[in-house]
């Protein structure tokens, strides 16, 4: 049982026009086995929340705290956060030329576990996970994200999540840019990992469509750097019917 606790989180970013405050006091607690959908209009700060949790150097945390099972996440370096059990599935996964997927996955797994995975079970695990995500075995020899289609990149993110087995995963617009078939495959992957490992999920999305495939336990509406409203599944249905106008008007 793990708990990610975000309290009064404030983050800013440097822009040519000066310092811009993006997160303005985020409070959120995610436990193992829970799926929290974070929904909000573009520019509301959803991705900043994701990157701030992962420790991207672009964002400066100006106030608040983040703990994972009581440990201070904000004091950890980017790789230490991953080792502590945090995972960020990125909206725009980065190409890394010259590094094959298989080498990347093995290096990451070794770093997270502190020891190299046992070769035989590792090869089997990778193969099974790739099969489940309908990824051709030739994928393993391709360079990380190089020349991948949008759907391939997102499946590759979920593949990593499955193999690295984090305690808490943040999925940043994993559904964006996917057609229905790819969305279904990716969602199945997320559900499978959750069933198998019981991880807690922060599912950041702009659209309600992915919630047809991944059942959220909680829905949070994110507006102007804060959570504006919280509810259950029904809140998502209301958003689908009404859009974000109600929140934007008041913001």
């Amino acid at each position: 049982m793990s708990t990610l606790e975000i309290k009064n989180l404030h983050a800013s970013v440097e822009t040519p026009e000066g310092t811009k405050q993006i997160l303005k006091g985020v409070d959120l607690t995610i436990n193992s086995g829970e799926t929290h959908a974070i929904m909000g209009p573009n520019g509301s700060g959803k991705s900043t929340l994701a990157y701030s949790l992962a420790g991207h150097p672009k964002y400066e945390i100006t106030e608040g705290s983040v703990t994972l099972d009581g440990e201070d996440v904000l004091a950890m370096s980017v790789d230490e956060r991953a080792k502590a059990g945090m995972f960020l599935a990125m909206q725009y996964p980065v190409e890394v030329p010259g590094v094959s997927v298989s080498n990347f996955l093995r290096t990451a797994k070794t770093a997270i576990d502190g020891e190299a995975p046992k070769l035989r079970t590792w090869v089997k695990d990778v193969k099974k996970s790739m099969d489940d995500l309908r990824m051709d075995s030739s994928f393993a020899e391709r360079n990380v994200n190089e020349g991948f289609s949008g759907g391939e990149k997102k499946r590759h993110e979920i593949l990593q999540m499955e193999l690295l087995a984090p305690k808490i995963a943040v999925l940043d617009e994993t559904d964006s840019g996917l057609d229905v078939d790819a969305l279904r495959i990716v969602s199945e992957g997320v559900n499978r990992v959750k069933d198998n490992t019981g991880l807690g999920i922060m599912l950041i999305t702009h659209y309600t469509r992915i919630l047809k495939y991944i059942q959220p336990d909680f829905v949070h509406v994110f507006v102007n750097g804060q959570i504006a409203e919280q509810g259950g599944r029904e809140l998502a249905d209301r958003l689908e019917a009404e859009g974000y106008d109600r929140f934007l008007a008041s913001a």
Binding site: D79, A82, P97, Q160, L164
Partner: protein, 400 residues
Amino acid sequence: MTVTDHSRATADAAHTHGLGTPTPDASRADRPTSFDVDAFAVPTGREEEWRFSPLKDIKPMLADQAADGHLEWDVPALPAGVTLTEVSPADARERSVRAPGDRASAVAAAHASGAMALTIAPNTVVDEPIQITVTGRGEDVRGHLLVEAGASSEATVIIERRGTATYSEFVSVDLADNAGLNLVLLQLWDEDAVHAGEVVARLGRDSRLRGSVVTLGGKAVRLNTSAAFAGEGASVDLFGLYFADSGQHQEHQLFVDHAVPRCTSRVTYKGALAGATARTVWIGDVLIRKEAEETDTYELNRNLVLTDGARADSVPNLEIETGEIAGAGHASATGRFDDEQMFYLRSRGISEEEARKLVVRGFFADLIQEIGVPTVEESLMKAIDLELEHVNEELAEEHA
């Protein structure tokens, strides 16, 4: 005739376009060659072949005067059919496949007082690599070397340069008909060495040359390699690997001259740069003459810039005088290992040092395998890891 001169690079301000450069020779073939030093003016730095070069470092090697230093040769017991002999100046000229192509090289040949000749007798097949180590003792040295592979011979020759020197050289590589030679030149100099070299190869009918150049050490290394086909059906593979730190200039110029039909050439050079003043230059010229029908050629240069400030120039030139070719192409790209890639790898638990290692090893891995000498491949991976340790130390100091 088609001449292209361009480089594609993605790194900001870390490359040079062919546009706006001095007018190149009408054809690469027009450049003079001579054993007479006076045939070459002292370069000013505006010449096409010198415009990227660190003339300040190379200057001592352009003076038409004797140098009295030597490199220390460490030569193993040579297998039957292989000899290393000293050759008189007259013989050295006579046995060179052609005359030097620039002033540094002409000076080297003129003042080397003869040459060392490594000769592989016809039909000799040597299984084990012949490993020669030459070590500089801080002296000023001119060198002339002949490598002669007899008809239908097969051998691997590794020449490793260590220590420090101000060293210029003219190396002639002669492949007789059907000879196979794997020649590996390792520039593992100490950090203050300066090296200007010209390697010229002539390939006889059906001969096969695999020439690998690895430049890791030295303050300034400028190594020009030419391969000219003299008989049909021959092939040349030229591989290069370089890694420049702060304060290092590494320059590799290549010229493949397709003068006869049905020959194949592949040029593959890859370099990594780290440190604000790291500097690399790659110029790859390929000429397909009118006679060279059914030529198949491809040249590639890739550079990986690991830190801000480092600069990689890459200039491929392809000159084609016949339409009857099997294939001709080139590619050049300079990419950065940037903050986003670093963040991505670290967000998967991989440390900063490990991330850099992963990327650099991945970048060089396929190239290192091409060298085809397992002992060299192993020690190269270690040498690259060592380079990376320096980079990590340097970056740690910057952050501190």
